[in-house]
């Protein structure tokens, strides 16, 4: 039994190694994806093109404009006088995409400020990209407040001091790369398992295997452990790229991450097996696996927090096994979460794994027997 199992795993590895297309699908494409995504998936808002309408034109107003310069948030256009660039032109500037934010400084800005009066300045944002607009308004209000405190010496008595844990620099790539790792492991194992099994069936080699003295349980285990192992190798590579290339910190326990990944693999491998039993061609299997992945990724909290989604969708995400794994990978890598912190996720993944793996193993054995 054991020797047959080892033989099978060897056979599978040789098969994968010889199939160039498969190798590319397993290794080259995911790593390329990780690199591209790591750079593209940047939700930090930077370099907002900002128009400044300075109707005051004094030393103080210029100093105020300069306070927007540090940091990478705003790119201020050279100050424009009312004649050069009338304010009614702003609509045009927004529509052509030349500006995303406008700062309007009223005529009596420095005079009233020096007299200790309250001055209202205008911030106008292009709301098309809601996220960028919100961030731009947020940052600029902060800058305005600082400048105001500096000039008048009057600040609000009660202050809120924020302390950011786990990611003090608020780098979005630290959050996204662990997410990509979870995504890759899911996509590769589901696709690989379903396509590889379907291909053997398409070519008739699965039938040949079933007439050998290997039991269908050993056959199943052999296939599954190969794909599981490949998934793990994939994850190690992805983690290495994340840590060494993107400089992502790994705070928690790698052993815990691997144990829980193995638990999660029960679900994805089971899913792959299930897809292989309901499809007859590789193309169908690939399509089904891809379709599942899109659903799983979008409702896993990968791009946007689950708490943002409508309530009915939030409940739906509880049915998504990837949601749990996403929280596990991010929790362990970024926050150093331990088993006690991740208990609900572990229970969810275990229940999912047991049900899906069990059912699809039964179905698979029925179809091969």
């Amino acid at each position: 039994m054991f020797r047959a199992f080892v033989g099978l795993v060897r056979k599978e590895f040789i098969q994968v190694w010889r199939d160039r297309n498969m190798l590319r699908l397993i290794f080259a494409i995911p790593i390329l994806q990780l690199l591209i995504l790591g750079y593209a998936v940047n939700t930090d808002v930077e370099q907002l093109a900002t128009d400044v309408y300075d109707f005051d034109q004094t030393r103080m107003s210029r100093e105020f404009i300069r306070s927007f310069e540090p940091g990478d948030y705003f790119v201020t256009e050279p100050q424009l006088t009312a004649e050069e660039q009338p304010l009614w032109n702003l609509d045009e500037r927004f529509r052509t995409g030349s500006a995303e934010l406008a700062l309007v400084i009223p005529e009596d800005f420095s005079e009233e400020l020096n007299q200790g009066k309250n001055v209202t300045i205008g911030l106008i944002a292009d709301g098309t990209d809601a996220n960028a607009a919100r961030a731009g308004l947020g940052y600029s209000s902060l800058i305005v407040r600082r400048f105001s405190e500096q000039v008048t010496g009057f600040s609000q008595p009660i202050e809120l001091r924020h302390k950011f844990l786990y990611n003090p620099e608020l780098e979005s790539v630290y959050y996204m790369v662990p997410g990509i790792v979870a995504t890759l492991l899911t996509m590769v194992t589901v696709m690989l398992t379903s396509m590889a099994i379907v291909r053997e069936r398409e070519m008739g080699t699965l039938e040949q295997l079933t007439v050998t003295p290997i039991s269908s349980t050993a056959l199943l285990l052999g296939k599954i452990s190969t794909f599981g192992l490949l998934g793990m190798i994939e994850m190690v590579i992805a983690l290495a790229v994340g840590i060494f290339w993107f400089g992502i910190p790994f705070v928690g326990s790698p052993i815990l991450l691997f144990l829980l990944s193995a638990l999660y693999l029960l679900t994805t491998l089971g899913m792959g097996m299930f897809f292989s039993t309901v499809t007859s061609t590789q193309q169908q299997a690939m399509f089904l696996a891809w379709f599942f992945s899109v659903f799983a990724i979008l409702t896993s909290g990968f791009f946007t927090p689950i708490s943002n989604m409508p309530h009915w969708l939030q409940h739906f995400t509880l049915l998504n096994p990837m949601r749990y794994f996403m929280e596990v990978v991010r929790g362990i890598m970024m926050k150093g979460a331990g088993p006690a912190d991740l208990l609900p996720q572990i229970v969810g993944m275990a229940a999912y794994g047991a049900v899906i793996f069990g059912l699809s193993a039964l179905r698979f054995r029925k179809r091969t027997a």
Binding site: G97, S141, Q283, A337, D341, L342
Partner: protein, 368 residues
């Protein structure tokens, strides 16, 4: 002309008979619209926080109320454990913990300096900065409301105005973008598969020996997909307006015109891919990797192009969706006119010409 019609009809029958293709063509756009429209929601609301009130006065309770009465925050189910308050953040049961130390209400009355603490889970950077901005705003409003009537503190006040999308709904941004993605998928993915399928099953040779010219075959095969792309586009636009309330400010005619240019460009990608490969599987893989991924990730659909490193920005320039996104968002949200959109439209035409040149070259060498 009627030769083209026959081939187009034949192709249409193929699509209608094949359940899977039909699924991609009709069910996919609808499902993607709903999924993206709801799941990709950058409007950050209902952030779960927990409050530790050690002051326990009317003032501290009022401040706490202010937090939870806003739409931005909602209360965590669990109270933090005093020995390990961060456990709440580690286990994802809360995003932030607000700490009101004793002495808050006294300092408030005397106008003394006082510091409140907020520990924020920084792992999701955009969520964390939203927490910071919202909590600062709530505290500021709380303090302003306690000032005597008519008293204006010296300094600056900001008056904000948001154009085109005053409620800052992110679905207004994403749903028009979906049209770009879905049109590309239907046009590029399906055409590349259908031509590869004729090659694989050998029916392409039969077609070529029939008394029709290659361009007639090509045109006949493309027509049904232009038709389908049009239906899908309209479908998504209807959803955008009815379900997600996305406004349509500009001209329908303009969008239709530029939409045709975009679909033609996407079809050229499909033709190019299918002329390069022999099997459906490879066609599908190449189409997925070369069209869908860059269109979702590198076109500005979700992530801003200007934040990307130089190399990816260069890649985004050869992704057709980049240009169509500018067009459709401009037309729908800002009523942008021809004079601005002519630039991205011209880029699309340029891309299309290059793609078609490449495709006809490899098509000829394959057949000849």
């Amino acid at each position: 002309m009627h030769k083209i019609r026959y081939i187009a009809l034949k192709e249409l029958f193929h699509i209608l008979r094949d359940f899977r293709s039909l699924l991609i063509v009709l069910a996919m756009p609808v499902m993607m619209t709903f999924l993206y429209g709801y799941a990709i929601n950058m409007d950050i609301e209902n952030i779960v926080i927990s409050v530790v009130d050690l002051d326990k006065t009317a003032a501290s309770r009022e401040l706490t109320d202010r937090f939870f009465k806003s739409n931005y925050f909602s209360m965590a189910e669990e109270a933090p454990d005093f020995d390990d308050p961060e456990q709440l953040l580690r286990s994802d049961n809360a995003t932030a913990i607000l700490l009101i130390r004793p002495g808050f209400s006294e300092a408030l009355q005397r106008g003394e300096k006082f510091q409140l603490g907020m520990t924020v889970d920084g792992s999701d950077a955009s969520l964390a900065s939203a927490v910071q901005a919202y909590s600062d705003a709530i505290l500021l409003q709380f303090l302003m409301d306690r000032l005597p009537v008519g008293f204006e503190p010296p300094g600056l006040t900001v008056s904000r105005q948001v154009l085109y999308n005053p409620d800052l709904q992110s679905s207004h941004f994403f749903v028009p973008g979906l049209v770009a993605i879905i049109l590309l998928m239907v046009s590029a993915l399906l055409t590349s598969i259908t031509i590869a399928r004729e090659k694989e099953t050998g029916t392409m040779e039969q077609l070529l020996t029939a008394p029709v010219k290659p361009y007639q075959i090509l045109l006949g095969k493309l027509l049904p997909y232009i038709f389908i792309a049009f239906i899908d586009g309209v479908l998504v636009l209807i959803f955008a307006q009815t379900v997600f309330d996305v406004p349509f400010q500009g001209s329908y005619l303009l969008l239709l015109l530029f939409g045709f240019i975009y679909v033609a460009t996407a079809l050229s990608i499909g033709i190019l891919i299918s002329s390069l490969v022999r099997t459906q599987q490879v066609a599908m893989m190449i189409a997925l990797v070369s069209t869908l991924l860059p269109s979702v990730m590198l076109s500005g659909f979700i992530f801003a192009i200007k934040n990307m490193p130089f190399l990816l920005q260069a890649v985004s320039r050869i992704v057709p969706a980049t240009y169509f996104l500018k067009i459709i968002r401009g037309v729908m949200l800002k009523a942008t006119g021809v004079e601005t959109l002519i630039v991205p439209a011209a880029s699309l035409v340029g891309l299309m010409v290059i793609l078609l040149l490449l495709a006809t070259r490899s098509f000829k060498t394959r057949i000849g």
